[in-house]
Point group: C2
Chain length 231, copies 2
């Protein structure tokens, strides 16, 4: 994906969404309504690197530490969507702009989670943002997803490579995702509030019952939940 230098900003400051399973520095970086993230079939070169026909994706890094993004993520397992999720109340400065977040995970990790309530090594989450349109075609109320990808971020479990086992990446192009430094707010927020192994399983309706059954909740999440119940 190419992001031109002229971009509209959702918020003036860097914010960490910390929801939908991925920490996100979404709104500050790229807002390009016309951007189209082509399905893998239409992008011959990346498809050749990350084959989609049943082959598993394995995180692969450049010498600089950049990650080759999984362009086939739209054929992965869908976990959930949110609209304008935020851990701070909405402010007037945000205006009328609305955004959907869609969360995907690689199939191997999903099946591992179904069986155990835990994420295996090499789990990869993708958080995709798209514009939430309101009026269009026959739609007169509510919101629908429209246009190209507005942001794309990854949450990667690579136990041997990262302190804390996981890392966040921002997809800068079809062939490059750059690492968020370990000091970014995403890491501490996910560690402090995510339900399972730094992932926001509390927002994934099909996985939450499995995590509960498997007693996979993090101590931090159990603490949060207990405090919430006492409010």
């Amino acid at each position: 994906m190419r992001f031109p230098s002229s971009i509209a900003l959702r918020a003036a400051s860097v914010v960490c969404m910390a929801v939908a399973g991925l920490s996100a520095l979404l709104w500050q970086s790229k807002m390009l309504p016309g951007l189209t993230f082509k399905p893998v079939l239409a992008t011959a070169k990346p498809a050749a690197i990350n084959p989609v026909n049943g082959a598993a994706y394995t995180p692969t890094y450049s010498e600089e530490g950049d990650l080759l993004p999984p362009l086939q993520y739209r054929e992965w397992i869908y976990l959930t969507s949110g609209l304008d999720m935020s851990y701070t109340p909405r402010t007037a400065a945000q205006g009328d702009m609305s955004m959907f977040d869609n969360v995907f995970v690689n199939p191997e990790a999903y099946h591992g989670f179904l069986a155990t309530g835990r994420w295996p090594d090499k789990t990869v989450f993708v958080l995709e943002s798209r514009n939430a349109a309101n009026k269009g075609s026959i739609n007169k109320a509510g919101h629908f997803q429209s246009g190209g990808v507005m942001g794309l971020e990854l949450h990667v479990k690579d136990e041997a490579r990262f302190p804390g086992k996981w890392a966040f990446f921002d997809v800068a192009s079809e062939t490059k995702a750059t690492l968020f430094p370990q000091t970014a707010a995403c890491y501490s927020c996910h560690a402090s509030h995510a339900a399972v192994d730094t992932t926001f399983v509390q927002f994934y309706p099909t996985l939450l019952p499995i995590a509960q059954k498997q007693s996979a909740f993090s101590p931090a999440y159990l603490k949060d939940s207990a405090e919430e119940q006492h409010k």
Copy 2:
């Protein structure tokens, strides 16, 4: 899925959502916050009927004309989500209740569409509705999906079986989806406004460019679009 007799109604009258690619008689039938639609792995019997390990789903009907639902749809290809989409303006009677719709399609049909801009025979869409929660865990603004499935409907292409090639079904249980009669508003609305072959591809951001490139738009949609531009 079991739907108890005591159910809260979103709207008093039958409404056809006609969005997100499926006509929907969503809100009038089943609103059960606690309902959990278990992943296929947890439902041994249906999984045996509809194997998920790479096997394609083929619509299978009972003697009464009911359809065996594809319980593995959460492992199918995700197309989009909407929030409170409607082709009529929102009314006060709808109150504060919000609902997400998630749309899935079987992988074989998706790959066929990527290649041709057309839906092959035996295409199956699934429209899943889930409650849109607002406050919970660390979320303070916007909406996230929470709880079990609130509604599940199918749009099935079976050229030899149905007049107009397609039919709509309402999933009543894990083993039974009942046919919407051809007189239901869904059929005429999809025929009159859907972008491609009675499906609302105009709301599927990854597929719309493909339909355009392949000149797959329906005459009805081209007429709608032309009228919209002249407004």
